[in-house]
């Protein structure tokens, strides 16, 4: 009996020795690398978009660390994620990133939203930090010649144009649209491009083409869009599009009932519909609302970290308890931004911010999120956007047609 135990111990010891030698021959444990992110955990974005972004970052870091971390120079480096709540205030985001620099944190994952990212980008530039922008889509961010900010997501110019392109393929196709736009740069830019696209597709923009910047313009993050809805009363648009974020879109759908300003076919919005909080806030009123989105799990894309888009969805929703039918796309944006930083550090083979910046600029990879390749301004401008519709409290991909899982319920408004 004792002999058997001794043999077992010897075998186990040998196995450990062999494993240790084997591990040593590939990579040893190197120092941890810190990714720092000023993410909204309270305030206007705290309940939804900021939370999703934070979960995306955490999921990316835990997934990479579970696979041994970032490997270069024969060593594996685990990632430490440092986050701080910016309270959904852009100026606070910038202050936090300055403090990160004082603490020696050079690799920045962006805050949620264009406002925060716009405030952070010059700070990153000044401090010699590098930022992977996961959720700041305003193209204005990329007109300043910054060299250290790289956005994985599609730019703001495509948020409303994607909705218009999808509407043009529907039956019946709308003849008129109205665009309510928040006053922030992202929403205004998206609306401007959307209005032009609508005209190009032969749709009438009500009450006028430039109304998004006057009568149907509302304060960013407001919970009262009555002035814009009253301006639309009597114009009877086929579709009302909200170019904004969660608060404005929820307010528009809610107050349209109060004011009797309902579109003939349905509502569409940027950012808000593909977020679980939109359905929570509106309940049945959310049914049929269309929303442009940065990512859908139906795309045929994969990588070695997260696997395929569908695997990412399954693993992410399992980890954070989301229903696979109500997944926050912002988390995929965030994970993709984090992944871009990981791949750039591996490619640079160093944690020197300048080398990582150069590696990011030359990144050309396929991921679960789609293709990531930055143009000279730092935008991932070739990535398309998609359209979902809320059907029976689930996000259903309806555009483009080759990715659609179900046909759109159209017209979406009950007669």
């Amino acid at each position: 009996m004792l002999q058997k135990q001794g043999a077992l111990i010897a075998t186990l010891g040998l196995a450990v020795l062999v494993f240790a030698c084997g591990a040593g021959s590939t990579s040893s444990a190197g120092s941890a690398i810190t990714f720092a992110a000023p993410v909204s955990q309270t305030g206007a974005f705290g309940q939804a978009e900021g939370l999703y972004t934070l979960q995306g970052y955490k999921f990316c870091v835990s997934t990479v660390n579970a696979q041994g971390g970032i490997t270069f120079g024969g060593q594996s480096h685990t990632i430490t994620l440092v986050t701080q709540d910016d309270q959904s205030v852009a100026a606070t985001s910038a202050q936090i990133v300055d403090q990160f620099n004082d603490q020696g944190y050079k690799f920045i994952l962006s805050p949620y939203g264009s406002g925060g990212t716009t405030a952070v980008a010059p700070v990153v530039e000044r401090n010699g930090q590098v930022m992977a922008d996961s959720n700041g889509a305003d193209t204005a961010i990329f007109t300043h010649g910054y060299k250290s900010t790289f956005a994985v997501l599609s730019p703001s110019s495509t948020y409303v144009t994607t909705i218009i392109d999808a509407l043009a393929t529907m039956n019946p196709a709308p003849k008129s649209v109205a665009i309510i736009a928040a006053s922030d740069g992202f929403s205004q830019h998206a609306a401007e491009k959307g209005a032009a696209e609508a005209q190009a597709k032969g749709m009438t923009v009500l009450p006028s083409t430039a109304a998004y910047s006057s009568s149907t313009k509302v304060a960013a993050n407001t919970t009262d869009v009555s002035s814009a809805l009253i301006a639309l009363k009597g114009t009877n648009p086929d579709v009302i599009i909200i170019s904004g974020h969660l608060n404005e879109a929820v307010a528009a759908v809610k107050q349209s009932s109060e004011l009797g300003v309902k579109p003939k076919y349905g509502f569409a919005a940027t950012v808000a519909p593909p977020t679980p909080a939109f359905i929570t806030a509106l309940g049945k009123s959310a049914e049929g609302v269309l929303g442009s989105t940065q990512w859908v799990p139906e795309i045929s894309a994969s990588d070695s970290i997260f696997g395929s888009a569908k695997q990412f969805l399954a693993n992410f929703t399992n980890t954070y308890g989301w229903s696979p039918n109500q997944y926050p796309y912002q988390a995929a944006d965030a994970a993709a931004g984090c992944e871009a930083m990981v791949l750039a550090i591996e490619k640079a083979g160093s944690t020197d911010p300048s080398a990582v910046r150069t590696a990011l600029a030359g990144l050309n990879v396929d991921t679960f999120y789609g293709h990531i390749q930055f143009d000279s301004t730092g935008m991932n401008s070739t990535k398309p956007m998609y359209l979902i519709q809320i059907q029976k409290a689930a996000f259903v991909t309806v555009y483009p047609s080759n990715l659609a899982t179900k046909p759109a319920v159209w017209p979406a408004m009950a007669a």
């Binding site: 305030g43 206007a44 309940q47 309270q87 009253i230 009363k233 929820v250 809610k254 109060e258």
Partner: protein, 295 residues
């Protein structure tokens, strides 16, 4: 024309909600000569009480009003009796600082307890409306508006027909003389602040029903609205807050239609400045409040 009528109607019912926010603020300012910067925080506290009752016990926000009012009355009474009474004779800047600090404490406590997330109370009826001609009147805001009218009426009855109301009025006019008549000023002040807090709480419950609220941006906006409406309506008249609220609601709604929705605060200030130039005591204000005796 239809848009103008809709904006005016929506502004009127929205104005009623604003009046509900302002009536307590105006009462405290008129009687205690305290500009209560924690008024918005008290309103949001009321919103959370109603939200908790609705979320955990399914209590309809309108049925929750008595509970909210009692909770906030007790809270307000305690604050005035234990804190603000200590400095009520001090220069107005000290009471401003104290109520500002109080607001910060309340809001930070709310943020710790509930986070800064937006909340709202979902009901089947609040966002529905009925139509008169082409004008839609939303049920939720109309109910809040009628509540404001009812509460203002009750407040007038209380102030003019009851011993308590006359004691409050007398203390507001001349504290020294009121004391000589046997009125316990400290108790009357605490009652006044308690009533104002209860009204703020009820307003908060209504805001939670027809819209949404959070402990970061909502209180500031409510205190701002209450300040503008009180000055606009005039201190010392219970109807002042009601009229001020309705005027401001219509001005913001029609102004938002004619300009854009991003101009509402500028419109509010423009209306206030214009009124103060034309009638410095406010729309329904009484001159006696500027010459009252503080002993």
């Amino acid at each position: 024309v239809s848009q103008f009528l809709q904006a005016a109607a929506y502004g009127l019912v929205q104005g009623g909600l604003l009046a509900l926010v302002a009536v307590g603020f105006s009462l405290v300012w008129g009687i205690l000569n305290v500009i209560n910067l924690s008024h918005g925080a008290l309103a949001v506290t009321g919103a959370y009480v109603a939200w908790l009752l609705n979320t955990h016990f399914g209590v309809d926000p309108f049925l929750a009003i008595p509970i909210v009012a009692v909770c906030l009355f007790a809270f307000g009474y305690a604050i005035q009796r234990g804190l603000i009474n200590l400095v009520v004779n001090a220069p107005i800047f000290l009471t401003l600082l104290l109520t500002f600090g109080l607001s910060l404490v309340i809001l930070n406590a709310l943020q710790l307890a509930f986070t800064a997330d937006d909340r709202s109370i979902e009901t089947a009826y609040a966002s529905q409306s009925f139509v008169i001609a082409t004008v839609n009147i939303p049920y939720g805001r109309l109910a809040a508006c009628l509540l404001a009218v009812l509460i203002t009426g009750l407040l007038v009855v209380m102030m003019t027909r009851t011993r308590l109301g006359r004691a409050i009025g007398a203390t507001g006019m001349d504290r020294g003389a009121a004391r000589l008549m046997g009125i316990r000023a400290r108790h009357v002040y605490a009652l006044t602040f308690g009533i104002a807090s209860a009204l703020a709480g009820v307003a908060g419950a209504m805001i939670a029903t027809v819209g949404s609220f959070n402990p970061t941006t909502t209180p500031t906006q409510l205190t701002f609205d209450a300040f503008v409406i009180s000055v606009l309506g005039g201190l010392g008249n219970m109807y002042g807050a009601l009229v001020g609220g309705l005027v401001l609601g219509v001005a913001e709604s029609v102004g938002g239609l004619l300009l854009t929705g991003t101009w509402v605060n500028a419109i509010a200030m423009a209306v206030l400045i214009f009124t103060l130039i034309v009638k410095p005591s406010g729309l329904l204000g009484k001159a006696q409040y500027s010459g009252r005796v503080e002993v």
